[in-house]
């Protein structure tokens, strides 16, 4: 019988002639125990029953491991969804909302930055002028219609980044809900203004300085005359 030289490379290991240690895995044999099926049957039943009692006990005693707070223990790791919810991360981008001013009008000035930035082109805004006599007339506009198609939205957050007045935010903590028609995914201004942030507020954390009020740092219309 020829000397076994497999597994050795004569170029890199010229001196080695002995075969490297190979692990021989014995073919599983069909012993009488395996053929009888019953011992394995009982072993299998023991395994499933053990899991059953363990998991049942943890569920009944309310001790099942929290699937969100990771732990190295096994157990039931699914959550009962509508009752238990995974906490969303702080910066989770949920459904949009339009923030409000103190007088409950939208902060949005209809600059169209968001709809321009939107890669999915799912924001539609029609700008309108404030009424005659309103101090904001001629200084800024407001959205007559503000529509987001939440089904088209890719939740990239560019609209939030683009907005110069922090008027659109995605901090509602809500995910898109399933509806039964596409029409229901078209969110309009009223609905968007109704949503609150996760803190329950409809405003933003950034204070707003209305034109004409003394805290207003920028140019007013009076200064703008030339």
């Amino acid at each position: 019988m020829a000397k076994r030289t497999f597994g050795t490379n004569p170029w890199t290991k010229p001196g080695s002639t002995s075969a490297p240690p190979t692990k021989v895995i014995a073919r599983p044999r069909r012993t009488a125990e395996v053929q009888a099926y019953l011992p394995e049957f009982f072993r299998g039943m023991a395994v499933t029953m053990k899991h059953f009692f363990k998991n049942t006990k943890e569920m009944v005693l309310g001790q099942k491991p929290d699937p969100v707070i990771e732990s190295l223990n096994d157990g039931v790791t699914t959550i009962s969804y509508p009752e238990e919810r995974r906490p969303y991360a702080e910066r989770f981008r949920g459904l949009h909302r339009l923030t409000l001013r103190d007088d409950a009008s939208p902060r949005c000035v209809a600059c169209l930055c968001c709809s321009t930035a939107c890669p999915a082109q799912c924001i539609h805004i029609e700008a309108g002028e404030y009424e005659e006599g309103d101090p904001r007339r001629g200084y800024e506009r407001y959205p007559k219609t503000f529509v987001i198609d939440e089904l088209r939205c890719v939740f990239c957050g560019f609209c939030v980044e683009a907005c110069p007045c922090d008027a659109i935010r995605m901090d509602t903590g809500m995910h898109a809900t399933p509806y039964d028609s596409r029409e229901q995914f078209i969110y309009r201004k009223d609905l968007l203004m109704e949503f609150t942030g996760r803190d329950g507020s409809r405003k933003t954390a950034n204070t707003r300085h209305e034109p004409g009020d003394p805290t207003h740092p920028g140019l007013t219309r009076e200064q703008g005359e030339h």
Binding site: F52, N55, G62, D66, L72, V76, T77, R86, A89
Partner: protein, 589 residues
């Protein structure tokens, strides 16, 4: 057949059918639920019925109030003798049970929802486990205290304890009702409503019949399946034979005699009055009737496959038919050894024999495993579920069924499961008998040495025997469901080989060996007979000890608190931990 016998039969049929239908629905749920608990999923527990507040309060109040009033009213009547003693025992034990159970529930409620008054604040620091163990201790004390009740004092004691029990029921009912929170109450019942919701859904779904299918046969097949699954239950003995005295001495059983259940029956079960077996039909062919009727189930599956005009369905039907025909043979032959030992094929006599001697599993262990395998194949459940193998032939013979016809196949399958468990109990697990429970009460005896004796009335023994039968059936069903979550499916050729080349020869060999042993023992004389009696008693003792040990181990294991260490690995886990995870309650209970 007289009118009273007819009425009794109808009542028995109702009991059996209600049990099987309810168990079928429950085991559909239990099947999924057990799988979930084995595989670390939550499983079906979603179906919720929001109950109006008044209805919820009514549901909480009615049963305890009813039981309370019932207990007080029954205590108004006079009882004497052993019945009074028995009633006192039951009253005391029930009162203790209700007390600790409601305290336990209250304790859990206080710990999860907070106390609302000073009395409840006591429970804030109490471990629910100590309530349970204290309850067990008081149960034992109650049993000991019964020794001090004299026969003269028994009627009075029965009265007083009855009133106390009623009062406890009423207090618990009213307090629980006051604790029902405001607003609509979600009724979930651990997800059992899921089965109900499913069946309601199935009624409204479209009943689809394939265009080229056979309309008549397509409708007939599910009916045949359910029919064969239900009618087999007619020969199941589900309790002790009842014995009625002939009250008006007219020599026939009539309605007025039904109130005269005899007080006690001798240990042999001899009945001097009218004997009413708790069995719908005591056929002389007994178990052969079961074989005949399960045989018609094959037709249902085969017709379903044929009438569906679908190749997968046809394959499934073929598989079902050939599998069931093959295993019918092994199923019948594996029981012949049992017939030789019991020397009868009547189901009632088989159960009685097991009560007097030893359970079938001890006299025919090989026959038991052969029969178990064959019966699993007959019910077409895992690991023998090739007729509906999802991975190859989609759903097999009921592929083209929808709506309630599909529901009938499903119900039929689960009724068969429950029935096969009942059959296993009746043939191998002592039927309605419990170890050492004889028609005249509890007698722990090995051979001729009597260790302990406690006399009971006929009524008590009969109630216990019925409960024992249904309880054992539920337990065996539960174990059978585990097969599904444990065993992988066989290949079809393996299945056929197992049936014809393993089970069949083994069954024949078992039959021959049994025959030789039975003949040898019959001719061995009285000495061997007394030894056999002792062995039988030992087997009964073994069952009793194992059952007790298993129960204790289970309770202790389930009550032990879980030790758990938390590791927060990723940043998202840390964030979730800061928000409190998903669970409203603490991890350690």
């Amino acid at each position: 057949m007289s009118l009273v016998e007819l009425v009794l039969t109808v009542v028995k049929i109702l009991i059996i059918v209600m049990f099987f239908l309810n168990m079928a629905a429950l085991s559909t749920w239990a099947d999924r639920r057990q799988g979930a608990m084995v595989q670390d999923r939550v499983g079906p527990n979603r179906a919720v019925v929001p109950l109006p507040n008044m209805v919820a309060r009514g549901i909480v109040l009615l049963p305890p109030a009813l039981f309370g009033v019932l207990s007080i009213f029954t205590s108004l009547g006079e009882v004497t003798g052993r019945l009074a003693l028995e009633r006192t025992t039951v009253n005391v034990q029930l009162a203790i049970f209700v007390t600790w159970l409601s305290l336990l529930v209250l304790c859990a409620k206080v710990r999860s929802g907070g106390a609302i008054n000073r009395a409840e604040r006591v429970f804030e620091d109490v471990d629910p486990r100590s309530i349970f163990f204290a309850g067990l201790g008081v149960h034992a004390l109650g049993l000991v205290a019964m020794r001090f009740v004299t026969p003269q004092g028994a009627p009075m004691a029965a009265k007083i304890t009855g009133f106390v029990l009623g009062a406890i029921f009423l207090i618990v009912g009213f307090y629980a009702t006051s604790r029902v929170p405001e607003g609509p109450i979600p009724l979930r019942l651990a997800g059992t409503l899921h089965a109900l919701a499913d069946s309601i859904k199935m009624i409204w779904k479209e009943d689809f019949i394939p265009k080229n299918g056979d309309k008549v046969l397509h409708g007939l097949a599910p009916i045949l399946t359910v029919f064969s699954a239900v009618v087999v239950a007619a020969v199941l003995p589900f309790g002790n034979d009842l014995c009625f005295a002939d009250g008006n001495r007219n020599g026939t059983l009539d309605f007025s005699d039904l109130g005269n259940l005899v007080a006690t029956v001798p240990a042999t079960g001899q009945c001097t009055g009218f004997r009413v077996p708790l069995q719908i039909a005591d056929l002389n062919v007994g178990i052969l009737y079961v074989f005949a009727m399960t045989g018609t189930g094959i037709i249902g599956a085969a017709i379903a496959g044929w009438a569906s005009d679908n190749k997968f369905a046809l394959l499934g039907g073929l598989r079902a038919a050939s599998q069931m025909v093959s295993y019918e043979v092994a199923m019948g032959l594996s029981l012949v050894g049992l017939f030789l030992v019991y020397s009868t094929v009547r189901m009632g006599e088989m159960s009685a024999w097991q009560g007097q001697h030893a359970w079938g599993i001890f006299v025919q262990p090989v026959g038991f495993f052969l029969f178990l395998a064959a019966v699993c194949a007959e019910t077409k459940r895992v690991p023998f579920d090739q007729p509906e193998g999802e991975s190859e032939i989609v759903a097999g013979y009921f592929l083209e069924y929808s709506g309630f016809k599909w529901g009938m196949f499903m119900t039929g399958e689960y009724i068969e499961l429950v029935f096969s468990s009942a059959l296993l109990v009746a043939l191998f697990f002592g039927g309605y008998n419990l170890p050492f429970l004889h028609p005249d009460g509890l007698t722990v005896a090995f051979g001729d040495t009597v260790l302990f004796q406690y006399k009971m009335t006929h009524l008590a023994v009969s109630v216990i025997s019925v409960l024992a039968f249904f309880g054992k059936t539920i337990l065996v069903t539960w174990v059978q469901v585990f097969f599904r979550w444990t065993l992988p499916r066989f290949r079809y050729d393996q299945l056929m080989k197992l049936g014809w080349t393993k089970l069949l020869p083994l069954a024949i060999a078992n039959m021959m060996v049994t025959a030789v042993i039975v003949v040898a023992l019959r001719n061995a004389g009285p000495a061997a007979e007394s030894w056999l009696k002792l062995l039988g008693d030992i087997s009964q003792g073994l069952v009793a000890v194992l059952t007790l040990a298993g129960t204790v181990a289970l309770v202790v294991g389930l009550l032990e608190p879980v030790e758990r260490h938390k590791f927060l690995v990723t940043s998202s886990a840390r964030f979730a931990a800061a928000l409190g995870g998903v669970k409203p309650t603490a991890q350690e209970a």
